[in-house]
């Protein structure tokens, strides 16, 4: 039967259209449902939960009945000397990583790219990729095996050569260096994947032409290979700047000890220690929210810059 009222016709048709689409794709929605539920429960409920940063949250009263305190937790944190310590440690660790870690995969992939023997190249690649897949617990274990004061290999070698033991892991001055070193050992090889892929895309004719023009290997690297990966370098650098507030919890947590606490605490280890261990939920949620908000801002900014630099960004 035709609908007589002309003005009512459009919305009804539209509703039907949506309904028909929903009905048509009901099995697709069914497929996505478990994932959707997981997302709502484990990703979006906690986002709502950050509101306890503005409360004096008590687990006994619950979220709904706890008292609202505005920005009190934030002022408490900003006025705490810990705030500057955490910020300093986080920025220092990341800046060290930017200066010392960041160039390593680039140099390593340039070196690998110059290898003509495919078998040797693949072997080295497999070896340097491997540490990426080990847990930080294993990495920490290996670090202790090498550097601990009592049983560590390095100290025992030093002793047998007639030197004194060095307290590698309990001296605050060395701590950031050890974190950087661990990162290089674990991730530098893995970092070459993307550069090597970019190098593989270079047209071989460019190298041939350069050789005919008399360019040696170094000159070829300088004027063909490096320009070819230049964009990737810039983009990765910008993306890294977007994560300058992030230091991996596990790496720091597993290496830290009471002797180096002044240089080893970062936001996440602080939140774990004060929040989880001492149940100061509202205060540490505020700390976490501060970190997440800055992080979000930096990631959005860096993504914008990546797009300006000619990359596709990640959204």
């Amino acid at each position: 039967m035709k609908v007589a009222n002309f003005q009512a016709k459009k919305p009804i048709q539209r509703q039907n259209k949506v309904w028909n689409k929903l009905k048509r794709d009901r099995y697709l929605y069914l497929l996505g449902l478990p994932g959707l539920l997981c997302m709502i429960i484990f990703k979006y409920t906690p986002m709502w939960g950050v509101l306890i940063a503005f409360q004096d949250y008590s687990p006994f009263l619950g979220f709904l009945k706890s008292e609202w305190v505005g920005f009190e937790n934030f002022t408490l944190f900003f006025n705490n000397p810990d705030f500057f310590m955490l910020l300093r440690n986080t920025l220092a660790i990341n800046l060290l990583s930017l200066v010392f870690f960041f160039p390593v995969p680039i140099i390593l992939s340039l070196m690998l790219n110059e290898v003509r023997n495919e078998v040797f190249k693949r072997t080295i690649q497999s070896i340097v990729y491997l540490p990426h897949f080990l847990s930080w617990v294993i990495i920490a274990g290996l670090t202790f095996t090498m550097f601990s004061t009592g049983e560590g290999l390095v100290n025992n070698v030093l002793i047998s050569l007639g030197f004194d033991r060095i307290e590698w892991l309990t001296t605050p001055e060395y701590f950031w260096g050890f974190l950087t070193g661990q990162s290089i050992w674990k991730e530098a090889g893995w970092g070459t994947v993307i550069f090597l892929a970019a190098m593989a895309n270079v047209d071989p004719q460019l190298y041939e032409a350069a050789r005919i023009d008399g360019a040696n290997r170094i000159q070829q690297m300088w004027s063909i290979t490096i320009p070819a990966i230049q964009n990737v370098i810039i983009i990765l650098l910008i993306l890294k700047l977007g994560h300058i507030m992030d230091v991996g919890f596990e790496q720091v947590f597993l290496l830290q000890n009471s002797a180096v606490s002044s240089v080893s605490d970062v936001f996440d280890t602080y939140i774990y220690r004060v929040g989880v261990k001492q149940s100061q939920f509202s205060y540490t949620t505020a700390v976490g929210l501060f970190k997440s908000a800055i992080g979000l801002l930096l990631v959005i900014l860096s993504n914008k810059m990546v797009k300006k630099a000619g990359g596709s960004g990640f959204y």
């Binding site: 409920t45 906690p46 047998s160 892929a197 959204y315």
Partner: protein, 291 residues
């Protein structure tokens, strides 16, 4: 074209340097492996062993005689197998749903997924949600939050984007519904990608440490990495239960046991590594910037 002398020197120095880098990457494993097989008496008398004079499996025998280690190994294996299977199913199904552009609301779902990647509420809100759900001390606390990881779902979605919708349309005409299409056409077509993601998930579950640290305090449900943390980092001497293996523990110095534990925890990674390696370069490129 012949290489000049300078080029040959350059190439040789390069190979030597890369060999050194390779050795630096491998050396800690070599040292740990050698010492895990070392005779306890030799290990105690020398300050370090670079080449073994004796060879014994006593550290491994001890470890496998303790219930604690076996149990943790079991927990980690369970997480790696069961968790991976579930994560793969849930993530792939969700990714498939948002990859179909005809779907009403596919853009909203896509944005919702992106938000979870961009903004993380932090440790405490996650912790409180797990607590409120009563999942503390349950292995579900490790599996459930990881079922849909934003990054992996996004990468899978990119993969499914490449499967043309016309393929389904013809299946639709033949009378198949979306469930059938997904399970009987899409999944078999995507096996190589699923294998790659599965291995990545499995490594992730095997290496789970932080979530277990937060949510699991029952010693019977401790994954391997948490047990290892106790042994390696906090230097708790005993993985031995009060009952089994305590007398054996007196004969074997803890150092060789630690080394053996590291080796045992690494072996599964080494086993899946060759399979993983085939896929990961592609996986990384899929998810990263195209310069």
């Amino acid at each position: 074209m012949r290489e000049s002398l300078g080029e040959r020197i350059f190439a040789n120095i390069n190979v030597i340097l890369l060999t050194i880098i390779g050795l630096i990457s491998l050396f800690p494993f070599y040292y740990v492996l050698i010492n895990s097989f070392a005779d306890p008496i030799e290990a105690a008398s020398k300050s370090f062993i670079l080449f073994p004079e004796t060879f014994t499996l006593s550290a491994y025998e001890y470890i496998f005689s303790t219930k604690t280690f076996i149990r943790s190994l079991g927990v980690s294996a369970y997480l790696a197998i069961f968790g991976t299977a579930l994560s793969l199913m849930v993530s792939a199904a969700f990714a498939y749903m948002i990859s179909r552009k005809r779907l009403f609301g596919h853009k909203v779902l896509m944005i919702a997924l992106l938000i979870t990647i961009l903004f993380s509420p932090g440790i405490i809100p996650n912790y409180l949600v797990i607590r409120e759900l009563g999942l503390m001390d349950s292995l579900w606390s490790i599996i459930l939050p990881g079922l849909l990881s934003g990054w992996n779902a996004l990468l899978l979605k990119t993969f499914f984007d490449g499967i043309p919708e016309s393929l389904e349309e013809s299946a639709h005409i033949d009378g198949a519904n979306d469930l059938r299409i997904f399970f009987q056409i899409i999944l078999p077509l995507s096996l190589p990608a699923l294998a790659a993601f599965g291995l990545f998930f499995a490594v992730g579950y095997w290496n789970t440490f932080f979530n277990a640290l937060l949510y699991i305090s029952d010693p019977d449900k401790r994954p391997l990495q948490v047990l290892l943390q106790g042994m390696l980092v906090m230097s708790e001497t005993g993985i031995g239960d009060p009952t089994a293996g305590a007398e054996a523990g007196q004969q074997v110095p803890p150092q060789t046991i630690k080394m053996a534990a590291v080796i045992i925890a690494t072996v599964p990674i080494l086993i899946v590594y060759p399979f993983l390696q085939k896929h990961f370069a592609k996986g990384v490129m899929l998810g990263s910037v195209k310069g």
